[in-house]
Amino acid sequence: MSDAALRTDALTKRYGRLTALDALTLDVPAGEVFGFLGPNGAGKSTTIRLLLGLARPSSGRAWIFGVDAGDVARTHRRLAYVPGDVALWPQLTGAETLELLARTGAGVDRAYRDELVQRFALDLDKRAGTYSTGNRQKVALVAAFATRAPLLVLDEPTSGLDPLMEQEFRRAVRAARDRGQTVFLSSHQLADVEAVCDRVGILRAGRLIEVASVAELRRLHRAEVTVTYTGAAPDLTAVPGVDGVATDDGRLRFALTGPPGPALRRLAAADVASLSIREPSLEEIFLDYYGEAAR
C-alpha cells in the first residue's frame, strides 16, 4: 500500500452533466515510469488536476505516497509537475522563474539544475514574456527535474520541443528512473512513451480501458503476417484471430490477433515459401483503441 507512488480509487469528476473522468482506479508503484495515453478530451489532464489537488473529485479519492491528494502542502513536497500548457509570469526572466520555483518548493539540486539548463540550451536572461512555447516548457521541465522529487507528473511535456530536446527529455526521464523516481507521463508522443515507459494506461471517454506493459499490449494486438507460397493459396477462412486477408499473386497478408497456433496449422497445410510477422507499433495499437471510440 505505502509503496504506491500514486493511487486512485473510483476517482470521478463531473462537470455538470459531463463526466470527464469515470471511476478511475489506478495504482502506480514507486519507481515506475507510467505512460498515460488517450485521445484529446479523454480525461488525462482532468486526472492530473485531481492528482495535484488543483481540482476536487466529485467522488472517489486519490493518494500521493499514501497522503490524500487534497492535502497539497504535504503531497506537493514529494512531487514536481510540468503542465501541458506552461504559462509563466511574463515580467520574470527564466532565471528568476527558476529561483521563485526553487525557493517556494521543497528544495532543489542546484548543480543538477545548472546541468539541465546547459543540456536544454536555455537562455535564462530573457523575460518569460518573450519565450516561445518550447522555451516555456523547458523552464518547467528544468524546474521539475531539478527538484529530484520522488514523483514527477508530466502532462504532455514534449509537445513544443524539437527532436534534439526530446532526446534530452528522454535522457532526463531515464536518469530519474535510475535514481528511483516515479514518473507519470501523459503524452501523445507515442515514441516517447515507447522509449521510456514501463507500463501504459489507456483512457477513453473518461474510462480506463487498458493497463499493461508495452510488451503485453503488443501481444494483445494485431500483428501483420505476410506469407509467400507456391501452389494453392492457404485457406484461412473462419480461423480465430485472423482478419483482413488479402491475396496478391503468391503473397498473402493478414492481421493476426492473439495466439498464432490455429493460423499456423492452416498455413502448414499449404506450401509456404516464406513467413514474416511484424509486431504492431505502439501507434497502431493506439489507433486501434482510438478507432474504437469513433465507432
Binding site: 488543483l54 476536487r56 509537475y81 509563466l88 526572466t93 528568476e96 517556494t104 536572461d125
Partner: protein, 545 residues
C-alpha cells in the same frame, strides 16, 4: 448572391472584403457591450438626475447667487473647472458632472481599446484570426471602430437625457458632443499607445498618464490665471472652453476633433508597421536576474505589487498634493465670506471654512481610487489564475489558503500605503503654503477612509472565491458603486434607507470631527467576513484553467 454563396472566397478578393470585417466587428461588440452599456447608462443617468434636482437646489435664490461666487474662487475652479451659466439647469449640470463624465468615458475607452486589441492579441487569441485573410491593421481598425462607436452612443444618450429633462437642447448638444469627442480622443490615444508599447500594461500606463497630465493641465489652467492658455492643450480644457449653455462655442470642439483624427490616423498607420504581439518599441533582450522578493509566495505577492503601488501612489499623491497646495487660499476665502460658506454647505460642501473641514470633505473621495486599486489587484490575481500563470505556484507545497492569503496581505498593505500617501501629500501641500494641518490630523483623516477601501478588497476576494469572473466588478461595488449611489441618491433626494446603503453615508468628516468608530468597526468586520468567505471558496473550488 455573393454574400450567400457557399464557394470559398478566392485569393483575388480584396483583403478588406466586408464579410471578415463584419465578423471581427461582431466579435468586438461582444467583448465591450456590457461595460459600454453601464458607462453610457451611468453618464446619462447621472446627468439627468442633476438636471432634475436643479430646481429644488436653486429654489433659494440667495443660495444660487452665493454658489456663483463660490464657484469663482480659484481653488474651487481648480477642482471643478470654470463655471458658466450656473443660473441654468444645464450649465450647473455641466459644471457638476462634466469632468466626471468625461473622465469616466475616457478611462473606459482607454481600458476597452487596449483590452480588445493588444490584450486579446497578447493572450494569443488573435493568432488564428490573423492567419486568415485579415491583416493586422484591418483587425485593429475593426475593433477600434466598435470602441469608437460607444462615445458616439454616449453623445446621443447624454444629449437625449439632458434635453428630455429640460436642460435645453442646444447646450446639451455642445456638452454631449464634447464629452463624446473626449472619449474618441482617448480611445485613439490608447490605440496608438497599444501600437507603440511592447506590452498591454505599458500601453495602458502611458494612455492613463496622458489622461492624468491632461486633467492636471486643465486644473492648473483653471487655478492660475497666467497659465489659462494651458486649457487649449488638453481635451478637458477644450470641453470647458466650448462653454455649453454660455455661448456654445464650436472652435474648441473642432480643435479636439482635429486632434482626434490625427491620433486615430497615426494609430492605424502604425498598426500596419508593427509585429503581431509586439509594439514598435522592442522589449529589452535580456537582463541579469533580480532575485529580491522571490523567496516565498508572500514576498512574490509584494514584488508584483511594487510597480502598481508606485504608479497609483504617483497619481493619488499628485492629486492630494495639489489639493493641499490650494487648501489655504480656499479656506481663507471662505472664512472671510461666511455667506459663501453657508452657501457651500447648502451645495453639499459643509465645513469648508477650516482646513480640517476642507481636508475631511476631500479625503472622503480617497476611498474611490484606493478601493478600485484593491479590486484591480484581486482581479489581476484572478486573471493570473485564468491564464494559468498561477498553476506552477499552485503545484508547489503551498496551500490555496496561503496562496490567496499572501495576495490579500499584499493588497491590504498596498491599500494602507496608498491611503497614507494621500494624507502625507495633502499635509505636505498645506504645510508648504503655510497652512495649519497637523500631520496626525491628516493621517487620521485618510485612515478614516480605510474601512471602505477594505470593503472593496473583501468584496473582490469574495467574488474570487465564488464567482471569479466577476472579481473586478464586485470589488468596485463598495468603493465606486457606494460613492455613485450616495451622490445620485442625495442629488435626487432619495429616502434615507437608500442613502444609508452606501458606506460613505457612515463616514465621519475626520479630522473635522472624531471618527465614527462603530461604523468603522462594523465595516472592517464585514470586510474581514467577506475575505474569510472568499478565501474559503478559493480554497475549496477547482482552479480555473
Amino acid at each position: 448572391m455573393s454574400a450567400g454563396t457557399l464557394t470559398p472566397r478566392l485569393a483575388d478578393v480584396p483583403s478588406t472584403a466586408p464579410a471578415p470585417e463584419r465578423a471581427l466587428s461582431r466579435l468586438a461588440v461582444r467583448l465591450v457591450a456590457r461595460g459600454a452599456a453601464i458607462v453610457v447608462a451611468v453618464a446619462a443617468g447621472m446627468s439627468a438626475i442633476v438636471v432634475t434636482s436643479y430646481d429644488s437646489l436653486m429654489a433659494d435664490s440667495a443660495a444660487a447667487g452665493s454658489l456663483g461666487a463660490l464657484a469663482a474662487n480659484p481653488a474651487i475652479r481648480t477642482l471643478f473647472g470654470e463655471p458658466f451659466a450656473l443660473d441654468t439647469a444645464g450649465g450647473f449640470t455641466v459644471w457638476r458632472t462634466g469632468t466626471v463624465v468625461a473622465v469616466l468615458i475616457a478611462v473606459w475607452a482607454i481600458l476597452a481599446a487596449t483590452r480588445i486589441t493588444r490584450g486579446e492579441e497578447d493572450a494569443g487569441r488573435w493568432d488564428l484570426l490573423l492567419a486568415g485573410p485579415v491583416p493586422l491593421r484591418t483587425a485593429v481598425a475593426a475593433h477600434l471602430r466598435v470602441v469608437g462607436a460607444v462615445p458616439v452612443l454616449l453623445t446621443v444618450a447624454l444629449w437625449a437625457a439632458m434635453a428630455a429633462t429640460g436642460a435645453g437642447a442646444g447646450g446639451a448638444a455642445v456638452h454631449a458632443a464634447g464629452v463624446g469627442m473626449a472619449g474618441l480622443f482617448f480611445a485613439g490615444v490608447a490605440a496608438l499607445a497599444a501600437q507603440i508599447q511592447p506590452t498591454r500594461a505599458a500601453a495602458v500606463g502611458s494612455a492613463v498618464a496622458v489622461l492624468g497630465v491632461g486633467l492636471l493641465a486643465r486644473m492648473i489652467g483653471d487655478g492660475v490665471a497666467a497659465l489659462d492658455w494651458l486649457r487649449w492643450t488638453t481635451p478637458f480644457g477644450l470641453l470647458e472652453l466650448s462653454r455649453p449653455y454660455a455661448g456654445n462655442r464650436a472652435g474648441p470642439l473642432l480643435l479636439l476633433a482635429a486632434a482626434t483624427v490625427v491620433v486615430w490616423a497615426t494609430a492605424l498607420a502604425v498598426a500596419g508597421r508593427r509585429d503581431v504581439r509586439g509594439g514598435l518599441r522592442a522589449p529589452a533582450a535580456g537582463r541579469p536576474p533580480r532575485t529580491r522578493l522571490l523567496g516565498s509566495v508572500e514576498a512574490f505577492a509584494v514584488r508584483r505589487a511594487l510597480r502598481p503601488v508606485g504608479a497609483w501612489s504617483l497619481g493619488i499623491g499628485a492629486y492630494f498634493l495639489l489639493i493641499g497646495l490650494i487648501a489655504t487660499t480656499m479656506t481663507d476665502f471662505l472664512a472671510d465670506n461666511p455667506a459663501f460658506a453657508d452657501a457651500a454647505g447648502a451645495a453639499g460642501f459643509a465645513g469648508l471654512t477650516s482646513v480640517e473641514g476642507y481636508a475631511a470633505t476631500l479625503f472622503a473621495v480617497l476611498a474611490v481610487p484606493v478601493g478600485l486599486y484593491a479590486a484591480d489587484r484581486v482581479s489581476t490575481f484572478a486573471g493570473a489564475e485564468a491564464d494559468r500563470r498561477l498553476t506552477l505556484l499552485a503545484a508547489q507545497p503551498i496551500t490555496r489558503r496561503r496562496l490567496v492569503g499572501a495576495e490579500v496581505a499584499a493588497v491590504t498593505a498596498g491599500v494602507v500605503v496608498l491611503t497614507t500617501v494621500a494624507g502625507v501629500a495633502m499635509w505636505s501641500g498645506v504645510v508648504v503654503t503655510g497652512g495649519g494641518l497637523g500631520f496626525a490630523a491628516a493621517v487620521s483623516g485618510v485612515w478614516n477612509t480605510l474601512p471602505i477601501a477594505l470593503l472593496s478588497a473583501g468584496a473582490a476576494v469574495l467574488a474570487l472565491g465564488w464567482f471569479p469572473r466577476l472579481t473586478g466588478g464586485v470589488g468596485a461595488v463598495p468603493a465606486a458603486g457606494g460613492f455613485l449611489l450616495q451622490v445620485i441618491a442625495e442629488s435626487a433626494g432619495a429616502p434615507p434607507w437608500l442613502i444609508n446603503l452606501s458606506p460613505y453615508a457612515h463616514l465621519a468628516p475626520v479630522p473635522l470631527a472624531s471618527p465614527n468608530l462603530t461604523a468603522a468597526a462594523a465595516m472592517v468586520i464585514l470586510a474581514v467576513a467577506l475575505t474569510v468567505v472568499g478565501v474559503a471558496g478559493f480554497a475549496r473550488r477547482d482552479l480555473r484553467v
